[in-house]
């Protein structure tokens, strides 16, 4: 057990070092989501938004939950990229020839992606606060937002890693990534509430797990505990199923790839 902790920490440390040395990448990773979506979108659509439709005092307060989950989505789906490169240049093989538990590489990746995601969520909530949006449910609510984000992120990272281990080339990986990411956002309640969507989009968004996570986080920010708790309970159920499926698929892809 001690040995595995040593392995996971050393591998996680490597991801941190890599990120810290890719200064631009780090900057964009941290700043892009809140800059593009929260600040630009939030302010741009402020007056184009019908307050009756979004059921919020302003568009940015409505959008905050969506941006949080979008960040989780993007980080999660990109979570396997570094492993993909490790696989392609042979670094993964170097690691696999050492007496580590096979799971340590995966665990280090989960740990790293979750830590980065958590930090970003806090930054987004902080920026939203500067624009006058504060969580109605307070610190406890924010903690719950982090938990929901993490749970969604675990499944997404598992998908990403499964893809990294299965694809033939990184071109394929990035094609699928680009294809998945935006539709997932538009076909969810991130930008517009489900009730205001055209019928067919509503149907698709209904089956998008992202919708359920956003609909649980939004009342934690906008309304308060009484409205939030039932939504949170539903989201936890959805995430339990989602994570179970993703982790199962991920484990299979990993086993097939590295034994």
């Amino acid at each position: 057990m001690n040995e595995q902790i040593q392995e996971v920490l050393a591998l996680t440390n490597r991801w941190v070092k890599r990120l810290s040395r890719e200064k631009f990448s780090m900057l964009f990773t941290l700043i892009q989501p809140m800059l593009f979506w929260l600040i630009f979108f939030g302010n741009l659509f402020q007056r184009a938004t019908d307050v009756q439709v979004v059921q919020a005092p302003n568009y940015m307060s409505f959008l905050a939950a969506g941006v949080v989950v979008m960040t989780v989505l993007n980080n999660g789906l990109a979570g396997g990229v570094d492993l993909l490169f490790d696989k392609e240049n042979g670094f993964l093989e170097r690691l696999m020839a050492t007496p580590i538990r096979r799971s340590s590489v995966i665990l280090s990746r989960f740990l790293f992606v979750m830590a980065i995601t958590a930090m970003q969520i806090l930054v987004i909530l902080g920026v939203a606060f500067l624009f006058g949006v504060s969580a109605e449910t307070g610190i406890l609510g924010i903690a719950l937002i982090l938990v929901l984000g993490m749970l969604f992120g675990i499944g997404l990272t598992a998908i990403s890693m499964a893809m990294a281990f299965s694809v033939k080339s990184h071109g394929d990986f990035f094609s699928v990534l680009g294809f998945l990411s935006l539709p997932m956002i538009f076909l969810s309640s991130a930008l517009v509430p489900l009730a205001a969507m055209p019928g067919w989009m509503k149907t698709l968004a209904f089956f998008n797990p992202m919708t359920w996570v956003i609909d649980a986080i939004r009342p934690l920010i906008l309304s308060g505990w009484s409205e939030a708790l039932p939504q949170v309970a539903i989201a936890l159920g959805v995430l339990a199923v989602f994570d179970a499926l993703c982790l199962y698929g991920g484990a299979r892809a990993f086993k097939r790839s590295v034994g």
Binding site: Q6, R14, G90, R94, P99, I100
Partner: protein
Amino acid sequence: MSDAVAIEVKGLGKTYDTVTAVKNLSLSVMQGEIFGLLGPNGAGKSTTLRILITTLTPTSGTATIFGHDVVKEADTIRRLIGYVPQERAIDRFLTGREHLLLLADLYHLPKHEALTRIASLLKLVDLEEHADRVAKGYSGGMKRKLDIACGLLPNPKVLFLDEPTLGLDVQSRLNIWQYLRQLREQGMTIVMTTNYLDEADQLCDRIAIIDRGEIRAIGSPRDLKASLGGDGVWLTLGDPSPQLVESLSTALKALPFVRAIRPTPQGLDIRVDAPEKALPAILEATNRVGCRLDGIEYHRPRLDDVFVAHTGRSLKDQPPEPTT
């Protein structure tokens, strides 16, 4: 080299969907020798190596390292071996020292032991000066040195290297050969793949020639070359009359180092075992018979001749393919 067997491979096979990468491969590697897997790209060398380092599972056959099965006891094997992959397997954002520190944790070395070992390895491969620079700026030779240090970090009983000098300049190649010979002196068993004939010839104690997934020949470079019928000596005679050629042949046949004699239009084609002894004896014999020599040509069989003899094509004819 001792008589103890380090690696025993029996009937090893690896098939991907429809492609057979390795079939029915058997070999043994002795403790303390440098063993080379020689063959063109795609011959099955790397597949064999990957099975031995436990990152690939064979579809048939078995392989053991010091009696431990590479599939069933993979974890034990991983504690016995060091692995030097091809050059690209370096994290360009980490420094040389950080590579070693990472691996030290993956081999579960205690901190103080890791630090002393890392310091001495950096010294061994002469990389102390650059140890704290990120690997992005390393030259090919420096990356290779770092790779070797990484492979040696666990203090392995067997070191596996994948094309250790691919794409390196002459000086770096010689340095790497030097390290590997030093390690052999210390009793380490070394298994490497190569598609360089001179490397196999000069560095390896024994080689297996692999082509299209099968072993074509196995033995020391010297034995393999000797199996072609020995070194060649060509005599051009001043007077190649049948009578003179006949008496010279009779005289030469009596010599212990001569294996075969064949008349040629100009003189004789002689195959010999130990050229350093055979050449003076041949000259002495021609004098004794009273035969005037117009020319003498001596040519050692090259490993490429061995390769051609066993595979029907020359390794040198292989177009340089991008490494995968």
